[in-house]
Amino acid sequence: MTVTPIDPFASSPWRRSTPGDQAVLVEDLTKRFDSVMALDGIDFAVPPGSVFGLLGPNGAGKTTVIRILTTILRPDGGHAEVLGIDVARDPAAVRHVIGLAGQYAAVDPNLTGQENLRLIGRLAQMAGRDLRARSAELLDRFDLAGAADRPVRTYSGGMRRRLDVAAALVTRPPVLFLDEPTTGLDLQSRGELWQMIRELVAEGTTVLLTTQYLEEADRLAQRIAVVDHGRVIANDTPAALKAHLGSTVIELGMGEEARAARALELLAASLPARPEREAATLRLVSQDGARVLIGVLRSLDDHDLTPATLAVREPSLDDVFLSLTGRRAEDAAGDGHQPQEGAQ
């Protein structure tokens, strides 16, 4: 299945760019909620047929960006367009070319899986025959064919989330928005959803997804924008971000601060990058984890500074933040969406 870049609204009066530009373009976007600047001048561009990841902690502004691009929220300033259509000036036209799966499975628990998909299709004025075929195809593809005629309230969390993504695809949107698509999913469901996203992109769909997991952005996205307090603080390929950051994080628990300080001085002299110290813990990031680890442990042991605890792991969002901003990722208020619990 191939999807050519679609331009159904070439005649829209608000259209200003030419076909073949970015699928999503965001320029200096701002949004304020009372006293909180949720978006403080965001810029990024998503090329057609690619996956773009917005990575950041809760409250960074990721959901606000998605809500503006899907016409749910109006921006205060700046410019945003989807397939060349301005979201603020021509929201009705934008709604024809997008699909949205939000943070919570937005499906009706009293309807069956099939009824949910058909409701979305009917509301988007799809023709009956096409809609029946499309919902059957999606249920099959998302491994829900066996549960198609069961009310969604009997579905597991993973099934609901798959149905939610399927609902976003009923109208075959060329641009798909996924807001934290795997939050709350178990590992297996997460892997399945990742695979489905890859298949969609192979077919030509453009995907903008938000996530709090570096791993998820790394696995799926061709490009990642790191968002913090309503600003983009980095915009690069996953490989470049990780090269900047290092691929392995080593954490050494030294037991007491004095020992940690001594170890820090010792290691700073021998390592290319100075480790970070937080109380009694030292953290170092490296491209060459195994070799560095051996060297570090040998050197510490020689000086009678053997660590009390040791952790070796892949970098997380926290490490990206520490590396980019010098501080930890922290949840902030003001992402502009209501606390919505219990949808799982």
């Binding site: 809500r67 009705a92 409701l119 988007a124 109208t171 949808a343």
Partner: protein, 272 residues
């Protein structure tokens, strides 16, 4: 498989805001969703009917004895039932507040708002589904009413007119509670917020006792507020007596409530 744009030329007008049939189609799709839920979760319907049935039986048999027939001129059950029909419809309208607050909380409204559909359809569909449920509930109350001794003194046609008036009034109250549900945004708060709207309308009214039995300061409100006026209109249509004034007042209230709250609810819907 090659996927092209849904339609190239004229895709926009096909679903444009100016297409009134599109809005009707969208509303019916949403109403269908509400009716499926009612059929599939019968306890919704059962619990929404238990409360009015209890009210009917309690007032009929517990309070019926103290309201003297000489005060109202007819047996209390005949006085009570038209009021209970109206009271039932007001209680039932709270469902719109709870339902919309739930859809808001689960993100379903956000999904609808990202679709190329009529903005008013989610609310219009919801209120139409409520209307269909009210037809069932009011019919049930009529049956129970007759079983406990209620009699129509006029004729079937005026009585039917009275029931249509009840349904119209219920429909207008659905828009009030739709607005409440969208304002508060979660089902528990919606339920709590609906009570202070509903209680004075239902209890400081002519639903259960004649307004003339109330203190003077309350009579002004109780006489003219929409629930009383509608109860008096339905009472006149089933018991006889001058009807026109109450019927017109009730129609005016329903029309006025819809004229104010439908745009308010749609306005709020576009901003949640």
């Amino acid at each position: 498989m090659t996927t092209t744009a849904p339609t190239l030329a004229g895709a926009e007008p096909r679903r444009g805001r100016a297409d009134p049939f599109g809005a009707v189609r969208d509303s019916l799709a949403i109403a269908g969703r509400g009716l499926i839920a009612l059929r599939r979760v019968p306890k919704l319907l059962i619990f929404s009917t238990i409360q009015p049935v209890m009210f009917l039986l309690l007032f009929r048999y517990v309070f019926g004895g103290v309201v003297s027939t000489s005060l109202i001129g007819v047996p209390y059950v005949d006085f009570l039932l038209p009021g209970v029909f109206v009271q039932t419809s007001v209680f039932g309208a709270i469902g719109a507040a709870i339902g919309l607050a739930t859809d808001l909380q689960t993100g379903l409204l956000e999904r609808f708002r990202s679709l190329p559909m009529a903005g008013s359809a989610v609310l219009a569909g919801r209120t139409v589904a409520d209307l269909a449920r009210n037809v069932f509930v009011v019919a049930l109350m009529v049956v129970i009413g007759f079983a406990v001794g209620f009699r129509v003194h006029t004729g079937p046609l005026p009585f039917l007119g009275g029931m249509l008036l009840v349904l119209l009034f219920a429909y207008s109250m659905s828009w009030v509670f739709a607005t409440v549900g969208l304002l508060v945004g979660d089902p528990e708060t919606a339920q709590a917020a609906a009570f202070p709207v509903m209680a004075p309308l239902v209890f400081a009214s002519s639903v259960f006792v004649p307004v003339s039995s109330m203190p003077g300061w309350l009579q002004g409100f109780a006489e003219h507020q929409p629930v009383s006026v509608t109860a008096s209109a339905v009472r006149a249509l089933s018991l006889g007596g001058p009807t026109a004034s109450y019927v017109w007042q009730s129609l005016a209230w329903a029309a006025g409530i819809i004229a104010v709250f439908a745009p308010l609810a749609v306005w709020r819907y576009r901003r949640v």
